[in-house]
Symmetry: C2
Subunit: 418 residues, 2 copies
């Protein structure tokens, strides 16, 4: 069978499997997840042997230490997969929920029921633990899932898929609901992205290159975020004592993640007082500061930024700093450079806070809080499958609910339309 | 300026305009809509003169009578545009609403606020009234709109856009929030569909060809429905007296629209009794019936269908009829041929009804009701901008709410993440 046919066949099977999932009970889905958790521990040796094949090939192929690190399924990584599964198991099943039924003038009862999307394709890089996390979230939301991990993790991913399928089989669920693309050709992805009759959603997770490639080539809806260029605006009415820990936490808690702070905007009226203080604290945390001329003039710890520093996702201990004239100046800057991920204002002024919340366009808009809170777990969604910075379907962290859609349900008594 | 630059420029202006719309009050938006309504009547002569240019060119180009009919802005069509505007005006403003704020363990207050999508591009055929309907809905939801109507309606659309912009100007709103593509080249659409940094959503309305073209070529999320192949399943436990008017209404009320009935499934246990009755009634309404061998054997009014009749969107007084063995048979048929638009069951059996609601995948699933109710107005959404049969973001009729998204809002008191 040629490659395209193999991929189509696998997607058709996933679609068919997804129908059977529609009527699987929550208890049964949860039993599958707990079985996966158990099997991950029981089959740890097998998983790590398969993983070692990938690591060895990776070393030969000259993967960077960081890449090899992300690829490695240590005991700790496996333990965190297990606890992730237990968390997902504990979340309420989103499927079948009807928030309200409204009675229309003609007596029809109309509501919207949460239902699975159908088939979700995950296209991701490096980390094989995504295989388990993504499959578990998709299954809990009643979706079949097609997994296409990085070619460097192919043996690990196939091993993990075997475990998923064993767990499904133990509950008499069609094992076709979890599919792993068994080949590493780019061509397979190209073809996958054309199968709009079989696949309902594509979620790419990885570098901006991968995400742009998927978006450009997909006929299927895509949920994605390109990058996280998050800002904090310290207003003239900020409580400067609160401001320091929030900025330090946003920038230095985990500088390599998408909700880390990349740009700090400071109102000119307080810059003289506040900038030396925060620069000192950031410097103590080894943060390199690149600023506008005004900020560099106020603190010698701030180097002058070049034009292309603004709006950069450094993912490192580097921070852009700009002194702005007022709220409008901060808003203009954010509109120009924001990636619409997370934007936070520090202020005690009621009106300024409410204007920021209303007028700033980002998946999460915050007042007096660390940008690090833009995360499914922190915002109360439970486990997340990614953070969307595009606005269709989901804007911000995507949890179980975002892996469902809502259909209209109409209960009638023989009504006709006049 | 070359064409691509013109289109990009217009999209950039729309995006900038969309920011200013974020803080325009509901009162002001409503005043714009009422001004448009007033101007449509005041400038009726001008509109109809411009429309006549399109009709004359259309006649020369040999457009069909149906096409010319859809193109013509009669007094009645203008009146219905006016009443449409008043309806949209009366709907609650979706923007700025936060359904609930939840308190997290660390004291953060977290909610989701409805906000405009930004810029919506409408790509549609023939009917110039869509220009007003679509622009009004987009504006009410706080979105800028880029309108690309059919080339055959270019003069009408430009005239209507002038009216929209006059009304915006009268309320000191940036007129860039309504853009009409002033050229008819296909190339303009091709380029438009690449502008993902400026445009947040594309809605194509028209034939399947247009919709497939847009889906294939767009980097921007697309909301669409390809076609409406709607079914009614008459269960063995149906109340056959209720069944007749529901089927007749579904099929004959407006056979040319997407929620009209195209396929009738009848449980074998009642086919002998019911099929002759319904065939008689359908025949009286001049409906041509194409059926399986069993149905043709039961009623001589039913002709034998060919394989390619199943799943066809006739948009005409033609109906496919099939006798099925049981609920599973109906479900399998619907899964194979449904366009996921509207599916209805007629039954008095509680369990069968609930299974149909849970297990059938369509944007609207109904019990004992005409398929004609799948419509924004009928389901209580108010005016609609289309019906989505894909599952991302919207599934079913799309009203004002579907023209917004929800961002996370976080009110803190200086919290940091541990």
């Amino acid at each position: 069978m040629i490659l395209e046919d193999t991929i189509t066949d696998l997607a058709v099977k996933a679609k068919r499997g997804s129908f059977s999932l529609m009527s699987v009970s929550s208890e049964k889905k949860n039993r599958v997840l707990l079985n996966v958790a158990r099997l991950l521990l029981e089959k740890k040796d097998f998983i790590q042997e398969e993983n070692k094949k990938d690591i060895d090939s990776g070393k030969k192929a000259g993967l960077s230490a960081a890449m090899l690190d992300r690829l490695t399924l240590t005991d700790d990584v496996i333990d965190s997969m297990v606890s992730g599964l237990k968390e997902i198991c504990a979340l309420p099943d989103p499927v079948g929920k009807i928030d309200s039924l409204v009675k229309r003038p003609n007596g029809l009862m109309v509501g919207r029921m949460s239902v699975p999307l159908g088939v979700v394709a995950m296209i991701y890089e490096s980390r094989p633990n995504v295989t388990i996390d993504a499959a578990a979230l998709c299954l809990k939301a009643g979706n079949a899932v097609i997994l296409r991990g990085g070619s460097e993790a192919i043996n690990s991913n196939i091993a993990l898929a075997t475990i998923l399928q064993t767990a499904l089989d133990s509950q008499q669920i069609d094992t076709n609901v979890v599919q792993v693309i068994p080949v590493t050709d780019r061509q397979a992805v190209n073809h996958l992205l054309t199968l709009e009759d079989q696949i309902d959603l594509v979620i790419p997770r990885g570098g901006e290159g991968l995400i742009r490639f998927v978006t450009k080539n997909s006929n299927i809806p895509v949920l994605k975020h390109y990058k996280g260029v998050c800002h904090i605006y310290v207003d003239k009415d900020a409580d400067l004592e609160k401001a320091v820990p929030v900025i330090i936490n946003s920038k230095t808690d985990r500088p390599g993640v998408c909700n880390a702070l990349e740009g700090l905007l400071i109102h000119k009226d307080i810059a003289g007082e506040f900038l030396p203080v925060i620069a000192e604290e950031l410097n103590r945390k080894h943060v390199e500061m690149l600023g506008c001329r005004k900020s560099a003039a106020i603190s010698s710890l701030v180097k002058t930024a070049s034009e292309d520093n603004w709006g950069t996702e450094f993912l490192d201990l580097i921070l852009c700093i700009k002194v702005v004239d007022n709220f409008e100046g901060a808003k203009d800057y954010i509109r120009q450079y924001s990636s619409q991920h997370t934007e936070s204002i520090l202020t005690e002024n009621y009106t300024t806070a409410q204007r920021f919340v209303a007028e700033i366009d980002a998946s999460a808009v915050m007042v007096n809080a660390s940008t690090r809170f833009n995360d499914g777990g922190q915002l109360g969604l439970g486990a997340e499958i990614g953070i969307s910075t595009t606005k269709l379907h989901a804007y911000g962290p995507m949890g179980l609910k975002e892996l469902t859609t809502r259909k209209f349900v109409v209960y009638g008594q023989g009504q006709v339309r006049n």
